[in-house]
């Protein structure tokens, strides 16, 4: 390391990698991980979301899990909360749809209306 600039670069990179320990994030993706969700493929959805987020450098996004939402018929269920916007819950997802949600909703900022089962 030869300059302050080098230090800043390392800092920015390391900050991205440790950001989620702060518990604060602008965007939060919640995946329902009840037995019903897992049976319907929630694990695959989760992995797809993580891969897609990493591929697109979306380190600000928190990915958390929750239990059964009671709407087992619609599993896998994923909700996306972008700061300042209503929470959108998507149903009957699969890995491909999840990748699309990351690119469209999170990266481009366009929620996908046709898969949404609730917006509030």
């Amino acid at each position: 390391m030869k300059s302050l600039e080098d230090l800043r670069k390392i800092r920015d990179k390391a900050q991205r990698e440790t950001k989620l320990r702060g518990g604060q994030a602008g965007t939060r993706i919640t995946i329902a991980m009840g037995t019903c969700g897992i049976a319907a493929g929630a694990r695959e959805c989760l992995q797809a979301i993580l891969e897609e987020l990493a591929a697109r450098n979306q380190s600000e996004v928190l990915v958390v899990q929750t239990g059964c939402l009671g709407l087992c018929d619609q599993e896998p269920l994923v909700s996306v909360e972008v700061e300042g916007q209503p929470k959108v819950t998507y149903g009957r997802l699969d890995a491909a749809k999840c990748r699309k949600i990351v690119t469209e909703h999170i990266v481009n900022g366009h929620p996908i209306g046709e898969w949404a089962i609730s917006t509030r």
């Binding site: 994030a25 380190s59 899990q65």
Partner: protein, 1008 residues
């Protein structure tokens, strides 16, 4: 880039390492991999998170859920439930002490939220072995800032302005030290870190080095730049292997990244860091001794001046501070001296890390702003004292500091305030002590430590502390002499003013401060040869006997029960206490709280065994036996009041041969035992059997005779009574002093219980009853009201359940029986038109600490609420009805003024004891007072004053000791459905129960 959705931080501070975090971490790594989660979840090893008592600890982010006391077997549940499905594993989360409530989130635990972390800012949050995680938290940015934007003078000025003071103990202004070193002539200059943390119980420096080593390295480089040094040394004790290893690793990494070494950030500034491992001599924490040790010489202090800033390492100007001081530097540079100076008190800026140890729930490290009160640290952060014991004192500053007792819990902790109390902040050790700590023994412990660690160079420290230790040693062995306390004080002052270095100068502090606050404990050791805390082993046989106010030989009678010699057991108790059957039912059993078996599983049910022996003796012989009377005396003695104090006094005097007459105002004998304690706890038949046995010893009881009304003290004397004992108790309830207290429907606790006990008509049936108070009278009144047919009974108490003075089993039974409790509330008004209909209360909150160390309840304004109520029973306290006894002298509280040691009043030949002297107290305290008075009266009448003859007891173990865990026998109780009448609730042990329970005794009275 790769993204992890979850970080699991595993604490790898030394505390958690010793509780097994490595095995947990390995299990976690394996399980995560086995489930294919290793691409999603990363496991990070961190430094100490602080709550060492909860270790092994881990925190799962992003949620921030803390898991405590995790065992490798728990890892499966964490992975399967939390990491896979996102469900918190409740059973492993933090539980609020004494409750079922769990607090899973770090962000909601008082232990963390009440802290302000500057020195510990990264500990437990970053991986100490990964420099980039330090950099992520602005690590080395402060070094970058000083090297590129500030002159050395500006850096020194900034540290000066922050007001930072040395965190190692003396509290010298750090900025001043920097400026002295900067201005000193001589080259090269050195920056040295004192990491020779040696105070017993203090481990904040270790934690910083283990959890955030780069914060020290960065600060050293900043200091080097400021004072003009290019070489730094860390002097670290060999007992900290993990810290040494992390430090070594951090130095290597910092070199690799070019953050130390040559030409840092291309600015031309060079700074090298090396470390020296010390052998762990306490004296090497003293700066001149430390420097000598780095030079390879013997670690001995030398006189100052010159100070190290002028002539330090190899005679060169040297900046020397401890680890925690350095850990504050980078934030000061980055956030500014104004920010730092805005935290803390006028003269003590910033925060201080305290290591909580001893008798405290949350053992560990906390960092709080200077000025935080001692009580907040002990109770809010520390979680208070475990096992229901009471706080006694806290030792701050280790062996150089002193103890601070309960009455100073409101003290805002800073350098000045603790010094004013005779202690010091020191390096921040806080050893919390409860009622089981002997302060003389504590002082001895610290002096032994100093003796071990004294380097021997100067005579005051080497020989002076030795002499002090010898005196303390003889005091704790029952060989203390009058004048020893004064001698200790004199020696202490000499040593303080003549010792060469800080070690010796501060060595007498623990002795001086324990004498200052606990002088009576020294006196009891010296004069009475007793150790009230049951620590000094040569001064007592067993803790239970030592704690019993009447010194019943507990282990002996427990052993007699074990051997099925029940009548002998009864007689063993009766030797010291004329009321085995009564105490076997209602004593508050302080003995059980000290039972050594509690350290293994649970204390022996001492009270219940006493009852069993009494019941057995009564059942099988039809009466309760008494010992033989010794001789016959002429002098007549009058006893006023037939409560436990009066009857005990009468009993022992009668056994000595005195003709004793007891005068009782009420139609029945027994005092509070009869008209205070309800039938369901103490059946009159059992009480009367015991009173009969006292009569059989030769005591005459005359009822319906009130002193001052039916007969005067003068008349008693005229009738030939040569000594009079006053044991009239405290039967008058204190008023609440609220409006409406005179309404019909307000009956005070003792009046209510007396009416009920005497079988008078008490209108309770179908009523809504409110009882005010948290003591045993309140519990008795509430449970009696329920039995008399009250529709509902509510107890209103101004503090919390934990602080109720009533016996825990009484509170539990009251709850079982359906009594409601409203805590943190106090009545302010009784309402009704001639007859009570409602009571108005206010909510209370707990404020500052009172002298007893309990939080004082204060009213919450505007929080009034009303309870419908047609019988209000205030039971807040009692006082004696002593108006007619003014001639013997009363205190301002209306109690009889009698000497505590001799029970003598100011009036010739008149003695007093029990509740009428002390105010409302326990049954066993009254019995003890009566016994003490009997001795005093015997001595007054020409006897030897020894009412219980010495008895040689053979102490040996009968049968096998049970050292495996074996739970205490539960007292069988009447089912709640059958408690509408006054049948006794506790049913007593069966013979098998009793023998089994007795066999649990560990016989700590037998010295091997």
């Amino acid at each position: 880039m790769h993204m992890y959705r979850s970080h699991v931080l595993v604490c790898a501070g030394a505390g958690c390492v010793s509780s097994g975090c490595k095995a947990v971490q390995n299990a976690l790594l394996e399980e995560v991999k086995a489930r294919g989660l290793d691409k999603e979840i990363t496991v990070v090893e961190t430094g100490c998170m602080g709550p060492c008592d909860l270790g092994p600890v881990m925190v799962v982010y992003p949620e921030g859920v803390l898991y405590q006391k995790v065992k490798p077997a728990d890892v499966l549940a964490i992975v399967e439930e939390h990491l896979l499905k996102g469900r918190v594993v409740e059973r492993l989360t933090y539980r609020l002490p004494g409750s079922e409530e769990t607090i899973p989130l770090v962000s909601e635990m008082d232990f963390f939220t009440k802290q302000t972390r500057i020195a510990l800012r990264n500990c437990g949050i970053i991986n100490p072995e990964n420099i980039e995680e330090y950099v992520a938290r602005d690590g080395y940015a402060a070094l970058g800032k000083v090297l590129t934007e500030m002159t050395p003078e500006q850096v020194v000025e900034e540290v000066k302005k922050s007001g930072l003071r040395g965190r190692g103990g003396a509290g010298f202004l750090t900025g001043l030290k920097w400026s002295f070193t900067a201005k000193a002539q001589g080259s090269p200059k050195y920056v040295v870190v004192n990491a020779d943390e040696g105070d017993p119980g203090a481990f904040m420096d270790r934690s910083v080095m283990e959890g955030d080593p780069h914060s020290v390295l960065e600060a050293m480089a900043i200091a080097g730049y400021a004072v003009g040094a290019n070489q730094g040394y860390i002097y670290i004790r060999a007992e900290y292997p993990l810290a040494v290893q992390r430090l070594k690793h951090a130095i290597k990494q910092a070199y690799e990244y070019g953050l130390i070494g040559k030409n840092i950030f291309g600015t031309g500034f060079d700074f090298d860091i090396d470390y020296r491992v010390g052998a762990g001599a306490f004296v090497c924490g003293e700066e001149t001794a430390l420097l000598a040790s780095i030079e390879g010489k013997r670690g001995e202090p030398r006189p100052r001046p010159p100070f190290p800033a002028v002539s330090g390492l190899w005679g060169k100007p040297t900046l020397l501070s401890n680890v925690e001081t350095y850990a504050n530097i980078a934030p000061i540079i980055l956030k500014g001296s104004d920010w730092f100076a805005s935290i803390g008190t006028e003269k003590s800026k910033g925060t201080k890390v305290f290591a909580l140890a001893g008798k405290i729930r949350n053992t560990g490290l906390v960092e709080v702003p200077m000025g935080t009160s001692l009580g907040e640290i002990v109770y809010d952060l520390g979680g208070g004292i475990p096992d229901g014991k009471t706080f006694k004192a806290v030792q701050t500053g280790g062996p150089s500091g002193g103890c601070i007792p309960a009455e100073y819990l409101n003290t805002a902790v800073d350098y000045e305030s603790l010094q004013a109390l005779g202690s010091i902040v020191g390096s921040g050790g806080m050893i919390v002590m409860d009622e089981d700590t002997c302060m003389v023994d504590l002082a001895k412990y610290f002096l032994e430590f100093v003796q071990d660690e004294s380097c021997g160079k100067c005579a005051p420290c080497r020989i002076g502390t030795k002499r002090m230790l010898e005196i303390l040693d003889r005091i704790t062995k029952g060989q203390g002499r009058e004048g020893d306390i004064e001698l200790l004080e004199e020696l202490a002052e000499q040593i303080k003013s003549t010792a060469l270095c800080g070690l010796g100068q501060s060595a007498p502090n623990p002795v001086l401060s324990t004498i200052k606050y606990f002088r009576h404990e020294y006196e009891v050791h010296i004069r009475d040869k007793k150790c009230p805390a049951s620590v000094c082993a040569t001064l007592f046989e067993s803790p239970c006997q030592n704690t019993c106010p009447v010194e019943v030989d507990v282990p002996i009678y427990i052993d007699q029960v074990k051997q099925r010699k029940y009548v002998e057991a009864y007689m063993t108790v009766k030797r010291q206490n004329p009321f085995p059957s009564v105490c076997g039912r209602v004593c508050h059993h302080p003995c059980e709280a000290k039972c050594r078996r509690a350290q293994l599983d649970e204390p022996i049910a001492i009270r219940a065994l006493k009852r069993f022996a009494a019941d057995w003796a009564f059942e099988h012989t039809g009466e309760l036996p008494i010992p033989l009377r010794q001789g016959r005396k002429e002098a007549k003695v009058a006893v006023v009041g037939s409560g436990p104090a009066g009857l005990t006094c009468a009993y022992y005097l009668a056994l000595r041969g005195y003709p004793v007459t007891v005068f009782e105002a009420l139609p029945v004998a027994g005092g509070m035992m009869t008209v205070g304690i309800p039938e369901y706890r103490l059946p009159k038949a059992m009480l009367n059997a015991e009173i009969e046995s006292i009569k059989k010893a030769g005591v005459e009881i005359i009822t319906n005779t009130r002193i001052g009304k039916d007969i005067t003290l003068e008349q008693l004397k005229a009738q030939g009574y040569q000594a009079i004992f006053l044991g009239i108790g405290a039967h008058n309830s204190q008023k609440l002093n609220i409006s409406g207290e005179e309404l019909a429907g307000v009956v005070h606790g003792t009046d209510f219980l007396r009416e009920a006990a005497l079988g008078k008509e008490v209108a309770v049936k179908g009523k809504k009853v409110v009882v005010v108070g948290g003591g045993n009278v309140a519990m008795d009144a509430a449970r009696t009201a329920l039995r008399l047919g009250a529709a509902e009974v509510t107890v209103v108490y101004r503090r919390r359940r934990d602080e109720m003075p009533a016996l825990p089993e009484e509170i539990e039974e009251a709850e079982h029986e359906g009594i409601k409790f409203i805590f943190l509330a106090n009545p302010v008004k009784a309402l009704g038109n001639g007859r009570l209909t409602e009571v108005e209360c206010v909510r209370m909150k707990l404020g500052e600490f009172d002298r007893s160390g309990r939080r004082r309840p204060v009213t919450i304004e505007g929080s009034e609420f009303r309870i419908a109520c047609d019988l209000l029973i205030p039971a807040v306290s009692q006082k004696p009805d002593a108006d007619r006894l003014e001639s013997v002298g009363l205190t301002k509280w209306g109690t009889i003024d009698a000497d505590d040691r001799t029970t003598k009043t100011a009036a010739e030949g008149i003695f007093a004891g029990g509740d009428c002297v002390t105010g409302p107290d326990t049954l066993i305290a009254a019995i003890a007072a009566g016994k003490k008075a009997a001795g005093a009266i015997d001595a007054y009448l020409g006897g030897d004053g020894q009412v219980v003859a010495d008895l040689a007891v053979e102490r040996k173990i009968s049968g096998e000791l049970i050292e495996e865990e074996m739970p205490r026998r539960k007292m069988p109780c009447l089912v709640v459905a059958k408690r509408r009448g006054f049948a006794e609730v506790e049913l007593g042990f069966s013979e098998e129960d009793a023998v089994c329970e007795a066999s649990r005794c560990l016989r700590c009275d037998v010295k091997i």
